[in-house]
């Protein structure tokens, strides 16, 4: 809780999301301070991606409020309206437009910032031409920003895995968000790429002054980057605080750190089955990178332990 007068970037109050009899999120409260980097962590199925889906309007929570900048309640708004209010996201299993080029992917992200109407496009008015020039130069700038300069004409499906993750972030940034939600941005990356991504996320916040919230399984990332960590388990918030505070909480160690999967970014958890997409381009590459020696769960931690 911040006692300042400025409203937080996002305030979640008592949000509950149920699927039939299953409560995916139960009365969750969460605050993302302006210009902060926060993480949501928790075991698979804890409801983290569901929370992102509620914030971005893909799901409508049954109860609670989601307030953007203290005023705008996002509950019941459509995803496109929420995007225009300045919330952008990436997806756990990369959802680019695989058959379009990298630059077209970014240009689609610019959609709401352009305004040419059908007649203006057909007549190719001066405003349309200028807007299209802006779209191309802005897209190039964003490609550059995410480290994909010169790769704009490659089909998204042909980009290496790490580039696809970066392109997805670039596409999200194209909407000019004030709040960026990253769903496992370092999933499937090797240690080198991971540390690059950490630097990149820090730089984003510093350069663009945006609020960033990530779902992350890699504890090194979470501990090094986050100012605030929210721990979820079975749809409930079980802890919250700075990395140091969270690290020392017994229930966190019990529920999460004890599961043995701390160091790993695992294959897609069950709670995001809805957003799973068949034929994700670089599945094999992803799993290759994922399987590192310290991935295997310690044998001592059997389910009964």
């Amino acid at each position: 809780m911040t006692g300042e007068s400025a409203p937080p970037a996002l305030r979640i109050e008592g949000v509950t999301k149920r699927f039939g009899g299953l409560t995916a999120i139960a009365r969750l409260d969460m605050v993302l301070p302006e210009r902060s980097i926060s993480s949501v962590i928790g075991p698979n199925g804890a409801g983290k991606t569901t929370l992102f889906n509620c914030i971005t309007g893909f799901y409508t929570p049954e109860e609670g409020r989601i307030l953007l900048r203290g005023t705008e309640n996002l509950v019941r708004l459509r995803p496109d309206d929420i995007s225009r209010l300045g919330v952008a996201r990436t997806y756990q299993n990369i959802r680019l437009f695989p058959d379009l080029t990298a630059i077209e992917n970014i240009m689609i992200g610019l959609h709401a910032r352009l305004s040419a109407s059908l007649p203006a496009i057909v007549l190719n008015t001066r405003a349309t031409r200028r807007e299209e020039e802006f779209a191309i130069s802005e897209s190039r700038r964003l490609l550059d920003l995410v480290g994909l300069a010169g790769k704009g004409d490659l089909l998204a499906r042909n980009l290496p895995y790490g580039d696809q993750r970066r392109l997805e972030i670039g596409r999200a940034l194209a909407t000019e968000p004030s709040l960026l939600l990253l769903d496992e941005p370092t999933c499937g990356m090797n240690p080198h790429e991971t540390s690059e991504m950490i630097d990149f996320i820090r730089r984003l916040r510093a350069d663009l002054g945006i609020t960033i919230c990530l779902i992350e399984h890699d504890m090194r990332v979470v501990m090094s980057i986050s100012e605030q960590i929210t721990v979820m388990d079975f749809g409930q918030k079980i802890a919250e605080g700075t990395p140091e505070e969270v690290r020392s909480r017994p229930e966190v160690i019990e529920a999460y750190l004890g599961s043995g999967s701390v160091e790993a970014c695992l294959v897609p958890p069950a709670d995001t089955a809805a957003s799973n997409r068949p034929g994700a381009p670089d599945d094999t590459l992803a799993s290759d990178d994922t399987v590192t020696p310290d991935d295997t769960p310690p044998p001592s931690l059997s389910p009964g332990a």
């Binding site: 995007s83 959802r95 058959d99 379009l100 709401a112 059908l118 496009i121 057909v122 042909n158």
Partner: protein, 566 residues
């Protein structure tokens, strides 16, 4: 034995196709189509091509085992391909098959046996299989050149009947007339013509590979050039020659061929519209004919003496387009929440509803019921005038309606091309690729989809308006489901989402069956066969859609799909 089986299986399949073609009357029908004058009919080619193709496939499959293995596989395929027709003759001569298959008569059996006997059947098939197998073993460029040359001869021969009337327009120009008559005989091409065409195409194909590579390169870079607005002199000159050629085309080729061009144009117009809905936005619309019907009926009602309105076409056309757009929006609103198969079924129903409404007795006093609306005046008339070379010309109706069709096709191409490389086109593609993500990026799904429906409908409305004035009447029966299917198939054939693909698809699917009258009985069968083959071998279409390029033009984008398919 087991090593012979793959070849035998391919051969048996080819033989089975021969039997099928025989029983449905294709063999008999194609005998009327002379390819090479006094020497070869289409039936001969069919009966030789099937075992030859089987031999080539068998040989290619066996080629890893060495040359000898490949040739023996081709021989086996040749033998096997003669077995089913031989059995057909054997069975047919003992039992009266004609009760079931009208075509299974003595004539058919004679044709299959080449008028001699079983030995001839087996002999020809084995020779064809071996020849096919041998060709398959040739180096790629030579093999392709041989195939190109053979296809060129067959195509020219099959269309000879159509080209001759065009040729007769040029009786005054000795060079064209003399060359033309030397190549084209009374039926099919002359034997001299065959040799010349075969040799010419063979040499051009063999030496033309670098040119084709350059063409491919140009294809991949064309959108880049279009985007950066490069306007070179060569480009301008090319456009000028094309436009000039299109303007005088009706008088260059005469009135029956231009009728086919008109029809192709109408389908291009519809194809461009449906390409926006299906190809860009990914909304599978099977009731597209409804908008075509609405356009046609609006013009019919407003301009024909039927209701006594008799408005001019210029007034009726905007109303027709508007009516189609309104219908598109009305259909769009309730179906926006549905996807894929469900959307297809709803739109299918909509198409039928429109047709049945037009046919119904309730609306008979407005729409004419089953009798339709007749005496619709033409949209555009040209008086008689003089042209160099041709002298005085008095244009026939198909030559006149060509101009509005051309005009609207050009407008439609321009519109779709502009839209494709715009904010809206990109939004459509995003909706097609992943609706949820598109919404997450700020794209309003409802508005975007409605716009696709409305734009697509407007082009179909245009096409309908033009067809009403071209035919001079509208009947409910001409707006059946088959039109929607045709347009959809031409898009799939050309390449979903590809603008040039619409042209290619319309030419192949609309022009070819018109040109080859002998095929028209088997049109739907061939559609089906073509679709199956396309989906198996080249699912991206004949002229696949390309992505926009906005980077520096000096690095050509690699297009892995295009290279792998050819």
């Amino acid at each position: 034995m087991t090593r012979l089986w793959p070849g035998a299986r391919i051969g048996l399949a080819a033989g089975a196709i021969t039997v099928l073609a025989s029983l449905i009357g294709m063999v008999e029908q194609f005998a009327k189509l002379h390819i090479v004058a006094d020497a070869l009919t289409m039936t001969d080619i069919l009966l030789v091509a099937l075992p030859a193709i089987a031999g080539a496939l068998a040989s290619r499959r066996a080629s890893p085992g060495g040359r000898g293995e490949a040739i023996s596989a081709a021989l086996v395929a040749g033998v096997a391909s003669a077995v089913p027709p031989a059995l057909l003759v054997l069975v047919g001569r003992s039992w009266p098959l004609q009760a079931m298959f009208v075509n299974a008569g003595a004539d058919l059996y004679d044709t299959l046996l080449w008028g001699r006997g079983y030995l001839a059947l087996f002999g020809v098939d084995i020779a064809a299989g071996a020849a096919g197998g041998a060709v398959a073993l040739l180096p790629g460029a030579v093999r392709r050149a041989l195939v190109h040359a053979a296809v060129a001869v067959i195509a020219l021969g099959a269309m000879a009947g159509l080209i001759r009337p065009i040729l007769s327009l040029y009786r005054g120009i000795d060079v064209i007339w003399n060359t033309g008559t030397a190549v084209l005989g009374g039926d099919g091409i002359t034997q001299l013509g065959t040799a010349v065409v075969f040799a010419f195409v063979f040499v051009v194909s063999l030496t033309g590979q670098p040119a084709r590579d350059r063409f491919d390169q140009w294809l991949t870079s064309r959108s880049a050039a279009a985007q950066s607005g490069t306007r070179t002199f060569g480009r301008g000159a090319g456009v000028f020659v094309t436009v000039a050629g299109l303007l005088v085309l009706p008088f260059l080729i005469g009135s029956y061929p231009i009728e086919i061009v008109d029809k192709v144009g109408l389908f291009i117009l519809m194809g461009l519209g449906l390409n926006i809905v299906v190809g860009f936005a990914g909304l599978l619309d099977l009731g597209y004919v409804a908008f075509y019907a609405i356009g046609a009926y609006t013009v019919g009602v407003l301009t024909a003496p039927f209701l006594g309105l008799e408005l001019p076409f210029v007034v009726a056309l905007p109303v027709a387009i508007l009516a189609a757009i309104v219908a598109g929006v009305i259909l769009g609103i309730p179906v926006l929440k549905t996807h894929g198969d469900y959307l297809a079924i709803i739109t299918l129903g909509f198409g039928e509803i429109i047709r049945i409404l037009a046919q119904s007795d309730v609306l008979k006093s407005w729409l004419g019921g089953a009798q339709g609306i007749t005496r619709i005046p033409p949209s555009f008339t040209l008086g008689a005038f003089s042209l160099p070379v041709f002298g005085r010309v008095d244009p026939a109706p198909p030559q006149e309606v060509y101009y509005p069709i051309l005009l609207f096709c050009l407008i439609a191409v321009y519109i779709t091309w502009r839209l494709r490389y715009s904010r809206l086109g990109r939004a459509w593609l995003a909706v097609r690729e992943d609706e949820e993500v598109a919404a997450g990026l700020g794209i309003n799904l409802v508005g975007t989809k409605l716009l696709a429906f409305a734009t697509g409908a407007s082009l179909a409305g245009m096409s309908g308006a033009l067809v009403a004035t071209k035919v001079g009447s509208v009947f409910p029966a001409s707006f059946g489901l088959i039109i929607s299917i045709n347009v959809l198939v031409l898009i799939i054939l050309g390449g979903v989402g590809s603008i040039p693909g619409v042209f290619v698809g319309a030419l192949v699917l609309v022009a070819l069956p018109e040109l080859l009258r002998e095929f028209s009985d088997f049109r739907l069968l061939l559609y089906g066969a073509v679709l199956v083959v396309m989906m198996l071998t080249r699912p991206q279409g004949l002229w696949p859609a390309s992505s926009a390029s906005h980077e520096e033009a000096d690095e050509p984008p690699p297009e892995p799909g295009a290279g792998a398919a050819t």
